[in-house]
């Protein structure tokens, strides 16, 4: 569904928690302005944000939405990616929440415990991704997680996999259905074009030197 809203996405020059939002906007051909904040401009911008955090989505120049997954869920609702009823929406959201659990473990390791935590984390990845492998394996069409069509969780799960694969390129080798999903979704024309942009290729996954 086309929206008449105008969107401005404000974020730092990292993939971080903003990348999944940009994947949605780009793949769905939603026009938006990207407002890049650097360390120099952040001090001035911070007090104008709802929680002193980025990303922020500004809708129609006035409404500011904070929290990356809230932004993603909002865009999902606006663009037909959240199912057709409250139950389907809840099911999409619960799978998204599952990706958030994994992402938070990943981020805690990267930011707080990289040296000793990296290997144990990588060893835990197959078990963490098991529900996704099982879900995709149960379907002939491995290009979408739920409802036989594209939903918001596909973007978010793909974005999580981008980070995991960057950490360890063969981490999906033992998960053939997840690997098939990753390759298929990454082959979507606008997704591939976006990820291939110089500025996006250069954007680190996190604010650390590790990734």
């Amino acid at each position: 569904a086309m929206s008449s809203n105008t969107y401005e996405l404000t974020y730092f020059p990292v993939k971080g928690l903003g990348n999944m939002i940009r994947l949605i906007l780009e793949d769905q051909s939603i026009e938006y302005k990207f407002n890049l904040i650097t360390k120099d401009t952040w001090a001035e911008v911070k007090p104008t944000t709802p929680f002193g955090q980025l990303p922020v989505l500004t809708i129609n120049g006035e409404t500011k939405i904070s929290q990356s997954h809230t932004i993603a869920r909002y865009l999902g609702r606006e663009h037909g990616l959240m199912g057709s009823n409250n139950i389907e929406q809840a099911q999409i959201e619960m799978w998204i929440d599952q990706t958030i659990d994994i992402r938070m473990k990943f981020l805690r390791m990267i930011y707080e415990n990289y040296e000793t935590g990296k290997q144990p984390f990588l060893e835990s990845v197959p078990a963490l991704l098991e529900p996704f492998e099982k879900q995709l394996a149960s379907q002939e069409d491995k290009t979408h997680l739920l409802l036989g069509k594209i939903t918001l969780v596909d973007y978010i799960f793909f974005d999580l996999l981008l980070a995991l694969v960057a950490l360890s390129p063969n981490c999906t080798d033992s998960l053939p259905s997840v690997k098939a999903f990753y390759e298929a979704f990454g082959g979507r024309e606008k997704i591939a074009a976006f990820l291939n942009r110089d500025d996006i290729k250069e954007a680190k996954f996190t604010g650390t030197d590790h990734l």
Partner: protein, 211 residues
């Protein structure tokens, strides 16, 4: 007559508390079932992500992840705004509150000795966001979003409950939050639920650090 909703959890307040407080306060009936540590492992495969809480709707539809359960019920019962932008505004406050709750639970469950002091050090800044927000609301409408009761208020009450369990003096420097907590706790159905033996005897978490 079978209930529309069945909430399944372990013997603790934990991540189900928010949901149960809201259901009680709203007078929404539900069946509550509990696994104990002994019989849960065998039952795990019956649940979407082998985790609890799970909400079962109409006897068969399972919704996992406490945040998704809360959002689903909020949408069903008018606690999530009336349109997509309002839903995003409630959602971002819900996410912000749940961030705080998850940080607190991480301290308790992951490494209490190492994480407690950093958490307490960061608490004033985290609470300041809520204190400022509520202070800016009119006296008769001390709500986080939309100037009226939403699921975000229940989430705030829930996290403040846990904070005061952890450190009774947690709200001593945030008078508006303290007043919010006192007033919310006086809501008749909520107070009645919190005075039941079931509520009072249920330990807060499975950790010795927060009982």
């Amino acid at each position: 007559m079978s209930q529309k909703y069945e909430l399944t959890y372990l013997p603790a307040k934990g991540k189900a508390n928010l949901i149960r407080l809201m259901l009680a306060d709203q007078g929404i009936p539900y069946k509550y079932t509990e696994y104990d540590r002994a019989n849960w492992p065998a039952a795990k495969p019956n649940y979407p992500f082998k985790q609890l809480p799970v909400l079962t709707v109409d006897g068969s539809i399972q919704i996992a992840q406490s945040h998704s359960i809360a959002r689903y019920l909020a949408r069903e019962h008018g606690l999530m705004g009336s349109n997509s932008i309002e839903q995003a505004q409630v959602d971002m406050w819900l996410d912000q509150t749940l961030d705080l709750r998850n940080r607190l639970l991480n301290v308790v469950h992951i490494d209490f000795e190492k994480l407690l002091q950093p958490f307490l050090n960061s608490l004033p800044d985290m609470l300041e966001i809520f204190e400022t927000r509520l202070a800016a609301q009119p006296a008769s409408a001390k709500h986080l979003a939309l100037g009226k009761l939403t699921i975000a208020d229940y989430a705030l009450f829930d996290v403040l409950y846990y904070l005061q369990l952890l450190r009774p003096e947690s709200l001593d420097n945030t008078p508006v939050l303290k007043a919010f907590y006192t007033e919310f706790a006086a809501r008749p159905k909520l107070r009645a639920y919190m005075e039941t033996d079931e509520f009072k005897c249920l330990r807060a978490t499975g950790s010795p650090h927060l009982q």
